[in-house]
């Protein structure tokens, strides 16, 4: 026997909200707008879903951000089945006069202080204004870009984890209260309900028990018990 799917289309979440709360369908489009806003917030703050995509860095070391990228998780190079993460270097100079180009005299091996231990040979710096990531060390190569997306899909129906439905419903109830001019008390009650649902939703992004077990075991030294 199959169970219901773990992902649900956003428009169906709104359909079901209207259905559950016995609302007239005339405000569907308004509720959908609020639901889309809600999903974008939840994607950043509560739903632990992120995008990982292979992108090619230009020969000049420039990587253009995907249009849906809201925040960066990491840039990495796939090597022998594992990811090698780049290090962010805030003082990498970004040349704005010549578009899409790293300074020609940039050398990531510069060091003005004594250096201890190993040093990464791959660096990046994020330029949010121009929506570019400048890469040093992997020019012209394919890298793995991990980022938080808006969660709103322009190429296909937007889906959300079904577990997020109570939080979206609570957000819509709160929005409904504002639209209908409910009392401040009622609006605050609904806002608290939404916040509580978001709090519960965040629980699903906690590490699984198995991961925690692995973590503890990896920290212990094991020896034969005599």
């Amino acid at each position: 026997m199959a169970d219901t799917t773990a992902l649900i289309e956003l428009k169906k979440v709104v359909d079901r909200f209207i259905f559950k709360y016995k609302l007239p369908d005339e405000d569907f489009v308004n509720y959908f707008e609020h639901a889309a806003d809600c999903v974008r917030d939840l994607t950043v703050h509560a739903i632990s879903s992120y995008h990982e995509t292979a992108v090619t860095v230009s020969a000049l070391g420039v990587l253009t951000m995907p249009s849906d990228m809201l925040s960066l998780i990491g840039v990495a190079l796939a090597y022998k089945g594992e990811l090698w993460y780049f290090t962010e270097k805030q003082y990498m100079v970004i040349q704005t006069a010549v578009a899409d180009q790293l300074p020609s005299d940039y050398n990531s091996n510069w060091s003005s202080y004594g250096v201890t231990g190993g040093a990464n040979i791959y660096y990046f710096r994020v330029d949010w204004e121009d929506r570019k990531i400048y890469i040093d060390g992997a020019e012209g190569e394919d890298v793995q870009l991990q980022y938080i997306s808006s969660g709103l899909d322009l190429a296909a129906p937007t889906t959300v984890p079904a577990i997020a439905t109570p939080a979206i419903d609570a957000h819509l109830r709160w929005a409904q209260g504002e639209i209908e001019g409910k009392s401040i008390n009622e609006q605050m009650k609904r806002e608290r309900k939404y916040e509580n649902e978001v709090r519960l939703l965040k629980l699903q992004s906690l590490p699984a028990l198995r991961e925690i077990r692995d973590y503890f075991l990896s920290m212990t030294s094991q020896a034969i018990q005599r």
């Binding site: 489009v29 322009l154 129906p157």
Partner: protein, 206 residues
């Protein structure tokens, strides 16, 4: 009751006003229409969704209502098959519009202003590849957004139409719990018409 039966009932309950005792049928229908509109309005105030019980369906039965793109505006449009009773929400008297065969594709009403702003909204942006149909109700047409995929097949509609637009043989549901009130109201309206002949010689037997 059919429309003809309701009209007949009212007609037979009117005070005789002259020797012929004839009220023009059109006058009676208009009076009933006024009373029914009031009844629909009361139902709307109670719960707009309950009006679904008093709609007439058009576009079913193998003859869907056509949707065509206007040559100048490119807006998809349908001509309404009948007049509707207006209500103060976005649907007005066109209570629902749906694809001819039931499907996951749903159509929702919008206010005219929302209709114009829609492409600039997040919903409008997402609608490009995840289409929902939207419509705005005009006086004798519907204007659509996002119906390109279903336009060829047409749509069906459920409309609250005025009483006088029903065919004589159509069954017309009297707004629930209002039977007595509505019929009495109609008769009261018509009774206020003064008799043309005040001499009391109309009686069958005296």
């Amino acid at each position: 009751m059919t429309k003809a039966e309701i009209v007949s009932f009212v007609s037979n309950n009117l005070k005789k006003v002259d020797k012929t005792n004839k009220y023009h049928a059109r006058v009676i229908e208009s009076a009933i229409t006024l009373a029914f509109n009031q009844g629909y309005s009361d139902i709307f105030d109670k719960d707009p969704r309950l009006l679904d019980n008093y709609t007439k369906t058009y576009g079913g039965g193998g003859t869907p209502i056509a949707i065509t793109a206007d040559a100048n505006t490119s807006i998809y449009t349908s001509t309404l098959p009948e007049q509707y009773v207006p209500f103060r929400d976005k649907n007005s008297g066109v209570r629902s519009v749906a694809t001819v065969a039931q499907s996951a594709f749903k159509l929702y009403p919008m206010a005219k202003r929302e209709f114009e702003i829609f492409p600039n909204t997040l919903s409008g942006e997402l609608n490009a590849n995840d289409p929902r149909g939207y419509y705005t109700v005009r006086s004798n047409t519907l204007e659509y957004f996002g119906v390109a995929s279903v336009a060829a097949a047409g749509v069906r509609m459920d409309i609250v139409i005025p009483f006088d637009k029903y065919a004589s043989t159509d069954v017309v549901l009297i707004p629930f719990g209002k039977d007595m009130q509505l019929i009495t109201a109609v008769i009261e309206v018509l009774r206020s018409m003064p008799a043309v002949d005040l001499k009391d010689n109309n009686a069958d037997t005296q």
